[in-house]
Symmetry: none
Amino acid sequence: MAKNKKQDILKAAANLFSSQGYNNSTTLQIAKEARVTEPLLYYHFQGKEEIFTTIIQEAFQEYVRQIHSLPGNTKTEFEKIASLIRLHMHIGETDSPDFKLIMSNCPSKLVSKKHACRDIQQKQQEIVSSYIRDCLEAGNAKGEFEAQPVDHMTLILLSLINEFLYMKIMSKKQFQPDEQSVMEFCKRSLLPS
Amino acid sequence: MAKNKKQDILKAAANLFSSQGYNNSTTLQIAKEARVTEPLLYYHFQGKEEIFTTIIQEAFQEYVRQIHSLPGNTKTEFEKIASLIRLHMHIGETDSPDFKLIMSNCPSKLVSKKHACRDIQQKQQEIVSSYIRDCLEAGNAKGEFEAQPVDHMTLILLSLINEFLYMKIMSKKQFQPDEQSVMEFCKRSLLPS
Amino acid sequence: MAKNKKQDILKAAANLFSSQGYNNSTTLQIAKEARVTEPLLYYHFQGKEEIFTTIIQEAFQEYVRQIHSLPGNTKTEFEKIASLIRLHMHIGETDSPDFKLIMSNCPSKLVSKKHACRDIQQKQQEIVSSYIRDCLEAGNAKGEFEAQPVDHMTLILLSLINEFLYMKIMSKKQFQPDEQSVMEFCKRSLLPS
Amino acid sequence: MAKNKKQDILKAAANLFSSQGYNNSTTLQIAKEARVTEPLLYYHFQGKEEIFTTIIQEAFQEYVRQIHSLPGNTKTEFEKIASLIRLHMHIGETDSPDFKLIMSNCPSKLVSKKHACRDIQQKQQEIVSSYIRDCLEAGNAKGEFEAQPVDHMTLILLSLINEFLYMKIMSKKQFQPDEQSVMEFCKRSLLPS
DNA sequence: CATGAATGAGTATTCATTCAT
DNA sequence: AATGAATGAATACTCATTCAT
C-alpha cells in the first residue's frame, strides 16, 4: 500500500506525458491522477524531470529486453530481420504507453540539457542498426542475400522500421502499410530473385 | 528596413519555435528576437497561436509549390519518384527552418483544438501519397514497373520518404542514408530485374 | 460629414459606458463602434476620461434644461412636486442613455481624482433638493400643506425621487411602483387629510 | 496569527473592492494588502472572481441573519416596519464594509455572466419586499393601518428603504434624513390620522 | 483630419518547487 | 511517508496612449 504510490505516480505521469506531452502535463495533474499530493512527488523524485527520466529509462529497459528476446536461432537471417520489423510494427499493443515517450521527440526543454532522453534515442537507433547489420553480414556470408553494401541497406531498413514504429505510435492507421506486404517488399529487396 | 516588422516577428518566431518548440518559446522571447515590443505581436496577430498558424500555413504553401514544380515530363515514371524522394532528402537546405514546423509533431496544446497543424500534416501525407500512387499506376500501365499492388507500394514508399524527411529535419546525419544508395534500392524494388 | 465624427465618438462611448461601464469599455471598442480609428479619439479629446466627462456634462446640461422647463405657473405647489417626480420616473425614455451615466455610480477610477462626475452628482442632488424645498415652503406659506418640518420632508421626498430614478435607470421594472399610487401616497403625506 | 491567511485575503479584498471597485482592485494589491504573495490567492480561491463571490455571499448570509433576528413579537406591525427601516439606516456601522458590495452595483464584468451578484441583489429585494408585505397585510387585518393597496405601499416603502441604505453605504450624510423624521413620516402615511 | 504602427506599464493566472509539521 | 500552505519566476495577453506621416 505504501510502495505502490511511487508506482502510481510513474503510471499517472506516463499516461499524462504520452497523451498531452511533457510540457502540458503539470505536477498537479500528475499528483491528482495518482491520487497523491504534490509534495509526495518531491519525496520520491527530485522533480518533474526525474519522473520523466525514470519512465523512459524503465521503458527503454523493457524495450531492450524485447529486442534481446527475439528468436536467435532462426533458419535464415531474413527471418530475424522480419521478426525485428514485426516487433516494431506492433509495439505498445500489449504494453504500457511508455514506449511512445522513448520514441517521440524529447521534450524540447530537456533536449538542450543533454538529457537522458537524447541518449536513449541514440542508443535505440544503434541497437536496431547493429541488429540489422549483424543479420545482413551473416546473410551475406551465407549467400542468403544478394550482396548489397551492408551500410546502405542497414540505414534503409532502419528508416523503414523507424517509420513503421512512428506510425504505430502516432496511431496513423491509414498510412500504416500492412505487415504482409512489408515482408514481401523486404524479401524482394534482399533476396536474390 | 524597419517597415517589415511583421515579417521580423514571423521570422523570429519560426526560428524559436523550430529550435525550442512552441511551448518553450515565449512571446517575450519572440519579441526580443524580432527587436520589437511584445504588444506589437498582438497588433499584428491575434496571439501566439496565430503566429504559429501563419508560419506553418505559409511554409505549407511553399512546400506545395515545390511539389508542384517537380518535373512533370520525365521519360520514366521512376524519375518522377526519384525527384520526389530527392526533394524530401534535401528539404530545408536552402530554405527557412519553417519546414521543420510542418513536419514535426504539432504542439500538444494545439492538437486538441483541431488546429490547422493537424490538417496540414494530413494534407501533406495525402499529397505525397497521391503523387506516388499516380506514378506507380502510370508506370504499371506502361509496363515500366514490375507489377506490384499499388496501394502497398505507395505506403512503403511514403514511409521511406517520411523518414528521410524526418532525419533531414532532425539533422540526424549519422542515420541518413545517402541519396545514391536510396535510388538504387528503390530501383531494385520497383523495376524488373 | 466631418464634424459628425466627434459626435459619433461621443455617442458610441455613451452607449458603451452605460451598458458595460467605464472600465470595461476600451478605447478600441469606442473607436470601432464609432467607425473611427483610435488616434482620432485623441485628436478630439485628451483621452478616455475627457470623453466620459464630456458625455456626462452634456447630459447634465440637458437634465438641468428639463428641470427648468417644468411648469412654473401651476395652481398648487403639489402639482409642481408631482411633475418633478413624474420627470424622474420617466427619465431616459425618450432620450439618450447618457442619463444613466450621470446617475449611476461614478467610475471608481475617477472618484479618487475629484472628477467632475462627483460634482455633477452633488449638483444634481442640490437642484432637486432646492426645487422640493421651494415648493414645500411656498406650499406651507399658502397653507396648502399640513405644516411639516421642511428640511425633513425635503430629504424624504428626495430619497423617493432618487430611488424611482435609480429603478428606472437600472430597469428594475418589477420593483418600480406605478405613478398613480406614488402620487396618491405623496398627496396623503403632504396634504391635510 | 499567521494561520488565517485565507481570512486576511478576504478582508483585504473586501476593503479594496468596496473602496476602489472590483475592476480597479488588482490581485497584486489584494495580495500586498493581505501581506501575502499573489499565488496564495489562487491556492485558496479559483481566482479574483471567486474571492469576490465569497465575500458577497458571506455578507449576504450575515444580512439575512440580521433580518431574521429582527424582533418578531412586537405589539404593533408598525414597530416591525420601523425596526426594518432602522436596520437599513444603520447598516454597516458596526460591521465590515462588505455590505457595501452586496448593495452597490455589481461589477459590470460579472453582470453579463449571470453572476451570483445579481441573484443576491434580487433576493435581497425580495426578502425586504415580503417582510414589508407581511407586516402590511397583518396590520390591515388588525385594522392597525388605514387600508391601502398592499402592493403599492410595499413598493414605496421598499424604495425608501433602498435609498436610505444607499445613502448610508455611500456615506452621503448631507442627504440622509434623520431617523426620527422618517418614522414620523411613515407613521403618518400608514396609520389612520 | 486621419491613420497604421508601435509601446510602457500593467494584469490575472500558472507552475514547479519548498517548508513546516 | 505524507501533506497543507506558501512562493519566485514566469507567461500570454491588454490597454490607454503616442508617433510619424
